[in-house]
Amino acid sequence: MSTIDERIQAAPLPSERERRRRNNPIIQFVRFVALSWGIFRLAHKHD
């Protein structure tokens, strides 16, 4: 069994495209709205 550090080193890095997506303010604004809505719905569902 590999050690945790070996597993970390073997774990895939995000692609350049994914990295850009994570930092792109426009895409992230859309994600912000979607995530906020999702969490609000989840909280209300169990409220």
Binding site: G38, I39, A43, H46, D47
Partner: protein, 487 residues
């Protein structure tokens, strides 16, 4: 007129007090007992701890809010519960010791008809020699004061790195039975972010030290997400993030002793080890705050109300059974004390029936057993339903059906900051439903509903966390329409 006494003004207690008063108005009394004069939005202590936010932004004084809402506030520590009253009065009572400067040390006995225990955790730094900021060698971010000290120590690390020295920063848990690994994870990645922002990351080693069997376990047995049509475990997700950020990890381990330079630990797979450090932020294990209980004649009945850990016994199944036999149904639904149904234990103050992550021991017998987290969203929900149950009991009498908030049905959102900056920040946004996995109901997806259990990393998460900071402080200040903001 009924009198509700609430012990603790944190997420659970403050939520309970505001909802109870809103529903009951002037007809009934709501009383809060809490030792601190200020309310603290604990999740943002992480940002105070890396110097991104001043401590004043995460606290505000409670007294003016309680005055405005006509809630009686005693700045005091509760010391004992007398559920059967005493020789003078058969009503339940709580003994308190004042902490406010004017009455410091004075004691009083408050009568109640209903009691909510929301006293949160005792920070048990004493559990590991050398742990903690007071008398130990490590920093903490559990209180705003601790976080300010942590930020100062991190500044020193950055100064030494700028001077060309190499530095090792260890972030994680300070004992094998800790909970709140999510907070330690956040702090580790925020430290990484700050070191990058300062342009000194290449000379620093950042190590995450945890009792979790694998990364992404968080004391809830890990999660399974669906990502682009593929199942991904939270451990794979976190390993990838740690790789990207170049953060090392020591998992399934428990610190055993900490000196001013070295953390000694024992690990389940590899046995004893040690790591030299220049700065360490290690969270303490939690225990109950040590409330005692007495019957009418003054006999000690603490063990009838509280588990040995000091957490309050509620309507859970505390039967002693092997780990593999626990069920989601063992978890409490109403948070009422079986001995005294007019007493509730909510938030961190209630005793969980069992661990969610499988407990383990090292070859030397050191316990490595992440305790179940009771995060903000479920804690707020518990406070709210306890208040609503009491309101119904007052209005409808003893037959009123109690409200329920079982953790095997509740969902939680965990937005783990991985760097604070409006354009260069990020966070790992995770939702899980339910919090306590139900392996009977969801056998193929690690006990959770795959449609509501998700993970996503990006700048949006940072904005979300910042928005929640503002929203929850607004809500806690009971500003107009505060109750529309969900828990």
């Amino acid at each position: 007129m009924a009198r509700i006494v609430i012990l603790g003004a944190g997420v659970a207690g403050h939520t309970a007090a505001l909802h109870a008063k809103r529903k009951l108005g002037a007809d009934h009394e709501v009383v809060v007992v809490s030792p601190n004069s200020k309310w603290n939005w604990i999740p943002s202590n992480i940002w105070v701890g890396v110097g991104r936010m001043p401590a004043e932004k995460v606290v505000f004084p409670l007294a003016p809010i309680y005055r405005r809402k006509h809630i009686e506030f005693h700045q005091a520590l509760a010391t004992a519960i007398r559920p059967d009253g005493d020789a003078e009065d058969a009503r339940g009572a709580v003994d308190i010791r004042y902490t406010d400067p004017k009455r410091s040390g004075q004691t009083a006995r408050l009568r109640y008809d209903y009691l909510i225990n929301a006293t949160g955790p005792k920070l048990r730094f004493e559990a590991t020699p050398g742990l903690g900021p007071d008398g130990g060698h490590t920093a903490s971010v559990c209180t705003p004061g601790h976080a300010v000290d942590a930020a100062a120590q991190l500044d020193d690390v950055i100064a030494r790195l700028r001077a060309g020295q190499r530095q090792t920063v260890v972030v994680g848990i300070g004992h094998g039975t800790c909970t709140c690994e999510g907070a330690a994870f956040e702090y580790a990645l925020n430290v990484d972010h700050e070191l990058r922002e300062a342009g000194v990351r290449d000379r620093a080693e950042v190590v995450y030290l945890s009792n979790e069997p694998e990364l992404g376990d968080f004391g809830v047995g890990g999660m399974v997400f669906e990502e682009k049509g593929r199942r991904v475990t939270s451990s794979e997700w976190m390993e990838s993030l740690f790789h990207e950020r170049d953060v090392r990890a020591i998992t399934h381990a428990a610190p055993t002793e900490i000196t001013d330079r070295v953390i000694h630990y024992d690990s389940v797979a590899d046995g004893p080890g040690s790591i030299e450090y220049d700065f360490a932020m290690l969270l303490p294990p939690f225990g109950g705050v040590g409330l005692e209980a007495y019957d009418r004649d003054g006999n000690d009945i603490t063990s009838e109300l509280f588990a040995p850990s000091g957490f309050m016994l509620v309507d859970a199944d505390y039967g002693d059974k092997p780990f593999d036999e626990w069920r989601a149904a063992d978890w409490p639904r109403t948070y009422r004390s079986p001995r005294n149904p007019n007493i509730f234990g909510v938030g961190i103050a209630f005793a969980p029936p069992h661990a969610i992550t499988r407990p383990a021991r090292t070859a030397a017998g050191v316990v490595v057993a992440p305790a179940p987290p009771r995060t903000g969203m479920p804690s707020g929900m518990m406070g709210k339903i306890a208040a609503f149950t009491i309101v119904d009991l007052i209005r409808q009498g003893g037959d009123a059906r109690p409200h329920e908030a079982p953790m095997p049905e509740l969902a939680a959102a965990c937005i783990a900051s991985t760097g604070a900056h409006m354009l260069r920040g990020s966070a790992a946004t995770m939702t899980m439903s339910p919090v306590v996995p139900d392996y009977q109901r969801y056998p193929d997806t690690a006990g959770r509903d795959i449609a509501e259990t998700r993970g996503e990393i990006g700048l949006a998460g940072h904005w979300l966390k910042r928005m929640l900071h503002t929203a929850f402080i607004y809500k806690a200040k009971a500003l107009p329409f505060w109750y529309l903001i969900p828990e």
